[in-house]
């Protein structure tokens, strides 16, 4: 392997240096932090790569497994930097500024406890966030519309869960940990019930799988939903209905042998948590309106929850998640939505959904004017 490392590592070092040289000069202010992150991480990878061919300990035969693993990690890191960060920096254009200003305005409006992520319209599939780069990808034309923009609030929550040693975000993470304890207890209780009842082994297997999904994936998604509900209010619930209707699958999907794996919790479960969250912050009437439309959508879709869904996503557990997340958001001193708020992004996004239902046929025209007004407002210094 020694010859292989000598050649492959040097080639990779060349690649890293080329990537650094590809970072454009004169990037606008909102991209400076991403540029800095990118440079630092690339330099760190290059240091690691140099070590692979110069550190005498790594030349020893006994350490070749470690050397290979370190090499692979360097490649993964460089791949990620090239395909995500450098690409975002290379395509930074003036057209990105609008959504960056919207996100900056949201940060101020809600008292977001971190710097805002950079937004770039490079997404090939809906909204995406790379928390480690503080980078958010949105679809190319998203800045021209309003109905999905509530998802910006959801994406803003992802980096909060990744912070470390930050007292400002600790309440949110503590709430998350509490929820995982509740989830674990729920699944343990179900497993115990299965054991006592001599139920089929397959169910026990499902329960263990569900626990894994709950802890590693679903709690994060539902927490980000709730952050969006608590900081934006009803518009997020409408946006979730819209997303489920346009891009969602079975709203009551649960991973089983036939159903396959899912990284996202069922849309129905998310909606149940969202509606309970809305009610908790004083939007019970709005929650009822969303629920009525949601039920109509479910009826048309023909989907029905089966017993597995109810065991995997029991309503009481979804309510606990909503109840724990609320003090987590308040503990970060984020502004919780209420009906008196007149901040520009908050008002525009909530008003958009009111207009959508008031005059569905005329909404598209109203939206054009509203987007322009939002653009103008966000240009001003807050």
């Amino acid at each position: 392997m020694h010859e292989y490392f000598q050649g492959a590592v040097r080639q990779l070092i060349e690649r890293g240096q080329l990537l650094i040289s590809m970072i454009p000069r004169g990037l606008s202010r909102e991209f400076h932090r991403l540029e800095d992150t990118c440079r630092r991480r690339l330099s760190s990878v290059l240091d690691d790569l140099n070590n692979l061919i110069t550190d005498p300990r790594l030349l020893l035969a006994a350490n070749q497994p470690e050397r290979l693993r370190q090499f692979k990690r360097a490649i993964w890191e460089m791949d990620l930097l090239e395909t995500v960060c450098i690409t975002a920096l290379e395509r930074a254009k003036d057209s990105d500024k609008h959504l960056n200003r919207v996100v900056e305005r949201i940060r101020i409006e809600i008292g977001y406890p971190m710097l805002p992520p950079v937004v770039t319209p490079l997404s090939q599939s809906y909204f995406q966030t790379y928390p480690q780069f503080n980078l958010m990808l949105v679809p190319l034309s998203e800045g021209h519309f309003l109905l999905h923009l509530p998802d910006l609030y959801h994406e803003l929550a992802h980096p909060l869960l990744l912070t470390r040693y930050d007292r400002h975000t600790q309440p949110f993470k503590d709430a998350f940990i509490e929820v995982t304890d509740h989830v674990t207890k729920h699944i343990d209780d179900e497993l115990e019930r299965e054991k006592r009842g001599n139920g089929p082994q397959l169910l026990s297997f499902y329960l263990q799988q569900w626990l894994k999904y709950w802890i590693l994936n679903w709690t994060t998604e539902i927490f980000c939903d709730l952050f969006a509900v608590y900081t934006l209010g009803p518009a997020y619930a409408w946006s979730h209905l819209h997303l489920s209707a346009t891009r969602g699958g079975d709203p009551f999907k649960v991973p089983t042998i036939s159903g396959g794996a899912t990284t996202h919790p069922a849309d129905g479960a998310r909606m149940a948590a969202i509606l309970h969250g809305l009610t908790l912050i004083g939007f019970a009437n709005e929650a009822a309106q969303v629920e009525e439309r949601w039920n109509a959508f479910i009826l048309v879709s023909g989907a029905t929850p089966d017993p597995d869904y109810r065991r995997c996503f029991p309503r009481h557990l979804l309510h606990i998640v909503a109840e724990k997340a609320l003090p987590g958001v308040k503990g970060m001193n984020c502004r919780v939505a209420d009906s008196t708020i007149i901040d520009v992004v908050h008002s525009t996004l909530n008003r958009a959904w009111v207009e959508f239902w008031r005059d569905p046929a005329g909404y598209a025209n109203w939206e054009k004017t509203a987007v322009e007004a939002l653009r103008q407002e966000c240009m001003k210094t807050p």
Binding site: R57, R69, S125, Y126, Q128, H158, L162, D174, L216, L243
Partner: protein
């Protein structure tokens, strides 16, 4: 909203854990490690927390959970190794399970990378 957002976090968490583990392994194999080394102490703490899962650090809690679900990993064995790392009694019986843990972390990181690339 995307699985990128979720797997980015897992990727970062595992990466840090995996780097720490490989550094300790290199020191152990080269005979250059002592129980007072900060990285060895950190690894010992992480391994011991595998059994209790009581770490207050959300990132480490996630990695611990991920590892406890891995077939090759015996949490109680690793917790015992965590205790041995705090002593001078380190031999091949310690290194071999740590190697398996490192391989397991590598596989999980590869999964996280693959999921991030899938987009959606």
């Amino acid at each position: 909203m995307s699985q990128i957002s979720m797997y980015s976090g897992v990727y970062e968490d595992i990466r840090e854990y995996a780097e720490l583990l490989d550094k300790v392994l290199i020191d152990l194999k080269g005979g250059n490690s002592s129980p007072d080394d900060p990285i060895r102490r950190k690894l010992a703490d992480l391994l011991k927390s595998l059994l209790t899962s009581q770490t207050g650090d959300l990132s480490m809690r996630m990695v611990n959970f991920l590892l406890r679900g891995t077939r090759e990993i015996d949490a109680s064995e690793l917790a015992r190794i965590g205790e041995l790392l705090e002593s001078t009694q380190v031999d091949s019986s310690v290194i071999e399970p740590l190697e398996r843990l490192a391989q397991s972390l590598e596989r999980e990181q590869a999964v996280a990378m693959a999921r991030m690339r899938m987009r959606g």
